[in-house]
Symmetry: D5
Subunit: 120 residues, 10 copies
């Protein structure tokens, strides 16, 4: 992982206000950008997170800053989507999580990557 990448510890959390039930939180971040490690050109994506919190929820402002912190990191589509999912799973220990990175078209080709996780 590149040295300038954000860390799971940057994802501040707060106590889930309704741990007695399963419910879903969806967070859509259309302003993700990183850099292609091969060409140095910027990549743009919408990162969509859906998770069922257990004890912790992610704090929205910290999540926004975490997403922004990828801005000058060189990393491929498949790797960064898996890495963001790993960071969130580590920080939140959610019951369930789905993360999608939907990247803008380049060379006439559009790519998206979707990770599903379940604690059970």
């Amino acid at each position: 992982m590149p040295d300038n990448a954000p860390k799971s510890a940057d994802l501040e959390t707060f106590a889930n206000p309704a741990p007695q039930r399963d419910y879903d939180i969806t967070i859509e971040a259309p302003e993700f950008t990183c850099v292609c490690p091969k060409t140095g050109h910027p990549d743009f994506a919408t990162i969509t997170l859906v998770y069922t919190p257990d004890k912790l929820c992610v704090e929205l402002k910290a999540y926004k800053l975490y997403i922004h912190a990828w801005r000058n990191v060189g990393i491929f589509h498949e790797a960064v989507t898996n890495r963001i999912a790993d960071d969130l799973i580590k920080a939140l220990k959610p019951r369930k999580l789905r993360l999608t990175g939907a990247f803008h078209a380049h060379g006439g080709i559009t790519t998206s990557v979707t990770v599903n996780y379940s604690a059970k």
Copy 2:
């Protein structure tokens, strides 16, 4: 819960006209607004309720006033969505209920919260 929040008892009901069958009622309220307890800035959301009534249905005008009554309450997205679900479950004792709060984007981030409930 803030003192100025509306109460479950504000949700007037009427007798379900077809208790012999399971059927669904969907109510979409795009004019929900409350206040962020941290920044004091207003938050806006569409609150969508889908429920299967048992003995009681919620009266539409009372529901509208209940939704409006959150206008100056300081409360977070996750908390208010769970609280409205709790108030409706207490007032209606529905067979099933799903409540979604879809909040407007802020800081380039869109959030929605979805609660599912089943009496069984």
Copy 3:
């Protein structure tokens, strides 16, 4: 039920041309209007019917006139949707039926009611 409401018997039928198989017929009627029994104001809705015919299909012109016949009847959303479903079930004895009344927004609130029926 109000005296001026249409009756199940108004729903003319014809013999299902393919009773040997299960298939679905969808009929969308966007020109439904009735009257709120409390305020006297008109209500507007799209009534969507999906059914699997058994021995009988509903005749389209008769169905249109039946829908129009609610024009000056005073009745609530939940009651009229269940009543139209009941009239169709009585007239057609379908294998399956789903009826949705999607009412226009009033007071910033949109409501729809969906009834599901299965003969088995």
Copy 4:
């Protein structure tokens, strides 16, 4: 069935190039028109076919001509949709087939008819 209706034998076929697997072919024909046998007025529909071929696929140009051949046939919505499905099942002997006739609105009423077939 009216004498001027097209026949199943009009549907030319060719050998399925990948019979070793189940896969789906979808063909949308938005230029279907026939005639109402009661009023003589034209009816317009989009005919959508989805099927899993077994040994045979339908040839596209022959299918287009078959669809056009209904142009002056007097037949009801429910009957013609079932008939086209029957003709295709006879000609192709598909593993699975779904056929939908989505007719334009008349008298403020929109109708569609959907037939599902499975060889097993």
Copy 5:
């Protein structure tokens, strides 16, 4: 298969960065064109690939060039869609794969072909 068709070996791959989990990669290529072997007229399609990688992912630039390489090949819709799926299955040995070729309308008829594959 025509001699000028691209080969499975043209599909360069790289090591899956997250083989420990099942996740999906979607690649949409709206700039596919080949030639009708009967009429010589060009055909245009959007090729959509969704797959769950096992040990290998397809390299995006090589995939783009592979798609472009069909430009002057004469081949039917059903055959080319199955062939692209075969080439990808051979090159990637994915856990799951779905490939859809959605061809532009011709003669008023729109066709799409969808292949599903599962390693198990």
Copy 6:
């Protein structure tokens, strides 16, 4: 004009709060319905009013009731649109006015009627 038609005098007004400038007020009423004088069938339309007030503005609740009052009046599309324009011109004496009645499709035919008026 039918006896049961609403009158210009039903259109209550209030004093324009900004008579010092030309500005536009747009009011869209999608719940207009009247009756075809030939067939007795209901007609549905969206009535869109755009006007530049001079001394008077139309009161919204009175306008809504005026629109509803056409519900059981038998009148043709061209006549009712011109009549509503005449009633508004008489009641408001606006600097400019445009009124459109966009009627739902019947017999596969959609009609709209647009009247433009300028005081100068």
Copy 7:
């Protein structure tokens, strides 16, 4: 002009209810079909008429039948659009008229033809 084409005289009219002002009537007919004189294949179009009536308006049912009457006439896009405009100008003597024939795509090519007429 083919012998089986409809005639201007088929377009019944009624007296303009508001000849004292210029106003516009728009009629959209999405169910136009005729036949290509070269290939015999059917053509489909949406015919959109916008006119400012002088002494006469076109009767909607007669216009619908006139549009339907082109069903089996062999005629090109450019010719039929100009001919329908000519028939309407002759029958209505409108102050202004615009007629558009928007034909469905064939061979991957979409065509529309627009005629403008002004009495002055």
Copy 8:
């Protein structure tokens, strides 16, 4: 004007970075809400500002707070739209300005108000 209304002086400004040319700035604020002075019910609108700056531009954060400050003010649609325009004209002295308040539907009626201003 109600005492709790925001003032023109709340609209902070900064020096136009390109006063040598005419150019347009568009600001859309979909989170406007005020209160109906007659019923006490909340009203919601999108306020869209388009202006050509002269010496001054409006500061975005101050504009957002100004828009939010109408939250508990009782004022009609026509009055508040003209008042916001007046406040902006006083604060910015723009070369040109257009302000639209597009209010949510109530009672089945949607209203918008548009003010145009030109310094010349």
Copy 9:
């Protein structure tokens, strides 16, 4: 101009059926493809032609073949759009013509080129 480019003479014409009036013909061809002379990669565009015919109209099938004939020609966006316009002006001598080439996005950049011509 590349040697393999199509020529103006490929554009067959027929006599304008209504030379007595100005009217517009719009032809949209979404299946244009050529090759980038620098990279050799394919470019895709929708070519939209709007013209007012004088003595001649372009024959649709010949126009389609002319558009297809650019398939393997290496030429830039700006040059090919001007060249197609020149070929049409030479072949048709139209009263007016507008030609737009709207190219697919590459490198995250979308380009279109629009040429306007008037005989006067």
Copy 10:
């Protein structure tokens, strides 16, 4: 202007292939990002350029790199849009130019800036 901003000289050009006529080139770049000089947060925009070339056209790859080069520059919406317009006017000396920067919503507020230039 910040030191790390791109320069007009970065905009490579090529000779206009059709200087004998006025025509328009539109280039849409949805992947613009810069940094807010006050908060340090990233801003995102779509930059749309429409120009009539005189002697020179902008080279697309150089333009893409110029747009990307704003990535870490701190600059306000109004300033950067005017600056990009100035750089293009200096490099291309176009007959006409329009440049729009449409920025993503922040704080519930969406902004766009549009510059128009004409050589005459």
